[in-house]
């Protein structure tokens, strides 16, 4: 703000429209009035329209019986369940495809992004071709491609593609063996948790010891062995209390095992592949944003190549990578709403689609759906901001 020297004679006030503070105040009052009038107009119209159509507002419809089935549900659901239950099922399905999509997109994206910088000419070109192809094609088109052109044209259940008598792929989806846990299996997750706690303790102790004495153990490797080895030992010691239920062809369909519906597969594949092409570009530009002098300086200190990457390049690159990466994750979760186009039962499909059509409660349904996405956006940005602040401390 600029400070004005008071050059006017005392007692002579400028007119109020020349006073910046008063002008701002008046302008803001007008703005509030206009927005309030606009909202009042909309609310008035909406009430008139709702009355004319005989729709009652309120969230009472959530406890009514839904009366339709959902093909994929991680919690108990039947057509006798309420609309509120439908909302929860849709939300869980959205989070499932979003979460698995984020993981897959990160793995593919980081791999391709690093491959893009490979000194190997062919690998770099292949990675570039991947990026340029998939990020320039609309994601809805990619979802349709995987669903209608690939998964819907697979053979029927009797001629399914079998992978070693345990995995079957056909037009109705992917069938996997399901683990059945017997009594005594609870010990293994417990060991797993203990192993993780032990590893964290080891890493902290190792860091302190390193700072105090300069000696260090390969703590990362040891904790990896503990985390995976200890549960494995317990598993063998307890006599492997797991049996696998194999999917079997009975009549026209498979019974048993886990079924992954083709709608999920198509959505998950398309979202991961599409978002990965953006993540790859972010990773590449993040790594390239680190001046080469940093690497050279680290080499001049005779750090080995592995430590140059781990201690110098990657921590700095992460600072550049994380903010755009966050918005890509959010984009993926928001794009998962395209599920409605192929009938995967996500939030938009079962709630803003079927429920809205059956109840006609447009305002409540759309508001709840939007609120869910807004909350997810806020939570992810808050987490990423916190993480970003932690990483940013590395700077200075």
């Amino acid at each position: 703000m600029s400070v004005r020297p008071n050059i006017r004679p005392v007692g002579h006030k400028p007119p109020f429209w020349r006073d910046r503070a008063k002008r701002a105040l008046i302008f803001q009052i007008i703005l509030v009035a206009v927005v309030a009038a606009f909202l009042a107009y909309i609310i008035h119209n909406t009430q008139a329209n709702l009355n004319a159509r005989g729709i009652t507002t309120g969230f009472g419809f959530l406890s009514n019986t839904a009366g339709f089935g959902i093909v994929q549900s991680l919690i108990d659901y039947s057509s006798q369940s309420s609309y509120g239950r439908t909302f929860v099922v849709g939300l869980i399905n959205t989070l499932l495809v979003g979460g698995l999509g984020v993981i897959a997109a990160s793995i593919i994206g980081f791999t391709v992004g690093i491959a893009r910088l490979s000194p190997n000419w062919l690998i770099a070109r292949l990675a570039n071709a991947y990026i340029e192809t998939f990020r320039n094609i609309p994601v809805l088109l990619q979802i349709f491609f995987w669903y209608f052109a690939v998964l819907r044209t697979l053979p029927g259940a009797r001629d399914s593609m079998a992978f070693g008598e345990a995995f079957f792929l056909n037009v109705r989806g992917l069938y996997l063996p399901q683990p059945l846990f017997e009594s005594g299996f609870g010990l293994i997750p417990a060991t797993f948790v203990v192993a993780i706690i032990a590893s964290i303790a080891l890493i902290i102790w190792n860091r302190r010891r390193h700072e105090a004495t300069g000696k260090r153990l390969p703590a990362g490797l040891i904790s990896l062995v503990i985390i995976f080895g200890l549960p494995l030992l317990v598993l063998i010691a307890t006599g492997v209390p797991v049996t696998w239920e194999m999917p079997e062809l009975r009549g026209f369909n498979f019974r048993g095992g886990i079924t992954i519906i083709p709608e999920f597969l198509a959505l998950w594949l398309a979202l991961s592949i599409y978002t990965a092409s953006f993540i790859a570009e972010i990773v590449r530009s993040g790594i390239q944003a680190i001046p080469h002098g940093q690497t050279e300086a680290a080499q001049a200190l005779s750090l080995p190549r592995k430590l140059v990457l781990r201690l110098v390049v990657i921590p700095q690159a992460m600072r550049v990578i994380i903010p755009p990466l966050t918005s890509q994750y959010l984009n993926l979760i928001k794009n998962s709403s395209l599920a409605t186009a192929i009938g995967y039962p996500d939030l938009v499909s079962v709630f803003a689609g079927t429920t809205l059509n059956q109840t006609g409660q447009a305002i409540e349904v759309i508001a709840m759906t939007m609120a869910v996405y807004l909350v997810i956006s806020l939570l992810v940005s808050m987490f990423m901001n916190w993480f970003n602040a932690r990483v940013a401390l590395v700077e200075r």
Partner: protein
Amino acid sequence: MIHNKDTIPQRPAPKGTIGPIAWLRGNLFNGPVNSIFTLLGLYVLYLLVVPTIQWAFIDADWVGSSREDCSRAGACWVFINARFSQFMYGLYPSSEYWRPNIVFAMFAAIIAWMVIPRLPFKRWVALLALLVFPVIAYVLLHGGYFDLPRVSTHRWGGLMLTLLLATVGMVGALPIGIVLALGRRSNMPIVKTFCVIFIEFWRGVPLITILFMASVMLPLFLPSEISVDRLVRALIGLTLFQSAYMAEVIRGGLQAIPKGQDEAAAALGMTYWKRMGLIVMPQALKMMIPGIVNTFISLFKDTTLVMIIGLFDLLGIVQAALSDSNWLGFSLEGYVFAAFVFWIFCFSMSRYSQYLERKLNTGHQR
């Protein structure tokens, strides 16, 4: 002093440092790990490229009029051929195709004029494109004036609709985006809060729910005697969505301008709008152009979502054509064609934005 007037003849580079063999050794086979990667890459390339060429070109059927002409194992491009005009114009009456054609040609001419750096009068062409071209385009496409038969908007479709949605969404979003961006950087707390809420709301929800809202809730918000065309509803949703993203791009550009510029202009006694319009915006705009092109690319891809609320854009019309009982089973061809069209547009735009980024990368780098 020894002085040699003759130039020493150039000697060839040491053996093994030039030529294709050396290039191969340097870029593909330097070390065992890289050699394995190269061979793997070649194998993947072989697996992908050979069947694709076989399917798309060698075994493909190109000429004909019905599905009986597609007898070979590869792609059936006859399907695309037969449906091509629909993919371009939607259900527009075929006797009136000259109207969208004129609009297409004018649009292409304007874009070319703006993009090619050497052509003069850019400012006037831009003004013409913003003020006169929309009127001409509306009169031609919609008709109802000058003895042109009316073509109602539900018959519009195909690539024409895709381009229309993207362009109108973009042009409408730019001024709203500028206002929102300035508001978000304002010192007035209420203005700032409103702008932040507006931007974060539209950015936080998926486009599909906005389109649902535009198609289901907009009629509720308006008095019952006003009915809004479905295309206009989609356009309102797209514009509001796009303006929030645009505002963030513009804000990024504004933040890159050193504060001293604004302060210097204020010291010269310029008002807020003069400072913004004459000093800050012209400099910021230069930096924003790549970002604006990038948001335009994503808007262009996002227009495909309007098919979910029942408009037939390029993807929507392809999808509709695939369920035609005369042409069942050619989904791969349809999607490949649509993907190709989208890819051409998006790829050339992204290349253009990269070119601009290099060209404009002159100042502000300290």
